[in-house]
Amino acid sequence: MTLARQQPATDRPAPLRPRPAPHPLAEPVRQLGRALLQIVRNAGSDLLMLWRSLLWSRALWFKRHEVLRQCWVAGIGSLGVVAFVGCFTGMILSLAAGIELAKFGQQDVVGSLVAISMAREMGPFMTALILTANVGSSMAAEIGTMKVSEEIEALEVMSIDIHRFLVMPRLLAMMAVTPLLTVVANLLGNLGGAVVGYYQLGVTFSRYYHNAIDILDLKAIYTGLFKALVFGVIIAVVGCGKGLRTSGGALGVGEATRTSVIVCFLYIMVFGYVITALFYGGQLGGG
């Protein structure tokens, strides 16, 4: 009030010094920072969810029916596609490699090549991609719909732990189903590879089989199955996490579903590389 009396009524407020124009890169950098923070925040919340859900696996016997239901949904629902894609992956590998190997008269080793590629890399990878599209996206959509229709809040009010009720059965089911489906993809891939080898490359089934068995060691098998297990965890955690963070009605559910598929693909690529590097990186002996 004192200040107001001291100034004549006609006085205009002192003009503010114009603020310097923001650097043209300021806004993109800010947005990038926000996006990175969001990624870190989401990864943190997903890891916490994973930990809590793993702790609830002690309730496996109590939730066995729900775990089996999830295994059925994920496993049987994807079995046909996994078998088909696995078979064609083996056929493509066999044909593509066989054509080049035949130039050197080495087409007989196609069995080794398909077997090792399927066991270590292509089996778990193709299975994970199919499960991401088929199961991970549906987890995100299902839980996202529950979120926007207040079902998650209803569970919270009833003091029902969502990690035990929703996430744990899906997580355990994916941890069981992904390696099993990977085995199916590997078997069918080798079958497809052998058929292509026999009819197009002139490699007998017996030779294909012996080459495949010779190259396959325990390490190749458990590396592939371990990869499948990790991919299963990724699909369940990303699908459930995206679903639980859904907001904004039907549009939000669509967004959660779409981004869950993309994020799963990225994680599968990165973790696929990291696991191969961990198990086989030492064999290079370079550097």
């Binding site: 207040e150 079902e151 009010v157």
Partner: protein, 279 residues
């Protein structure tokens, strides 16, 4: 109120404050929803909270069970300050509550029976026979026992609300919160749901808090109506007094008039937004 209701009310400790909200502030981003809300829900009564869309009615309800935490202010349930409680400490508090969500919030892959049985199966050591007995008792109470094995999408909106109420009542709660229970229902179903709320209170003596913008419904079921406006409780009274109020905001809301302080405020806000967009 009948003899049974009077007995039930006496058992529930009627008249004592059950839920108290003191100076509640809550915002979502830039949007300030609650601005110093003070509200008391007395035990054994049906309190109806009315107000226009976006005035914070559902937000108020969610604070009562700790689904939302206030930015400022305190929440008391039976005199216990639950404002800072985490989800573990909220378990015994939430056990006192049943919550009927606007959509019913029934789990889509469980049938009616399993939806109502869900809290008992997840949180109690009751045998399947005991669970069956309790669930069927609640389903009979709300006259939906014949639909026990039907899936939520196969039953009508009114039935879904009754099933959701059966689930909310499964622990015999002391408080039941209803979030817009009659929204989207036809007049007959609305009257049915109102009757369901009245009968539930008469039979169980439960304390009810109903969020609604349906004045007909509020008049039928309320012991007390509270009007929320701009994040504050601006008026409260028994239904008859509320309907006859000369408070300008209450009067416009009750009569549904186009001209009045509520619409003037909305227009001013719209003008402000337009000016903001122009600058």
């Amino acid at each position: 109120m009948g003899e049974r209701a009077a007995g039930a009310a006496a058992r529930s400790g009627a008249g004592r404050p059950g839920i108290e909200l003191r100076g509640l502030y809550k915002s979502f981003g830039d949007h300030q929803v609650l601005r110093g809300l003070d509200l008391v829900v007395e035990r054994g009564q049906t309190t109806v909270i009315v107000g226009g869309s976006g005035t914070g009615k559902s937000v108020t309800l969610k604070h009562m069970v700790g689904l939302l935490k206030p930015d400022r202010g305190r929440v008391f349930v039976d005199g216990e300050d639950i404002t800072e409680y985490d989800s573990d400490r909220l378990v015994p508090v939430r056990r006192k509550f049943g919550y009927l969500f606007q959509s019913g919030a029934l789990i889509g892959w469980l049938d009616v029976f399993d939806n109502v049985a869900l809290p008992l199966r997840e949180l109690s050591d009751l045998s399947e026979a005991e669970i069956r007995e309790r669930v069927m008792e609640k389903l009979r109470l709300l006259q939906v026992h014949r639909a026990a094995r039907r899936m939520p999408p196969e039953i009508s909106g009114g039935m879904r609300k009754r099933v959701a109420l059966a689930r909310a009542l499964i622990w015999d709660p002391e408080f039941v919160l209803f979030d817009e229970p009659t929204t989207g229902l036809d007049p007959i179903l609305t009257a049915t749901v109102d009757q369901m709320i009245i009968e539930t209170r008469e039979r169980t003596g439960v304390t009810s808090v109903v969020v609604s913008h349906d004045m007909q419904s509020a008049r039928r079921i309320a012991d007390k109506i509270i009007m929320l406006y701009q994040g504050r409780a601006i008026f409260e009274a028994p239904p008859a007094e509320f309907m006859a109020s000369e408070h300008p905001i209450v009067r416009q809301f009750v009569r549904g008039e186009l001209e009045g302080p509520i619409t003037a405020e909305l227009r001013a806000a719209e003008r402000g937004l337009e000016a903001e967009e122009e600058t």
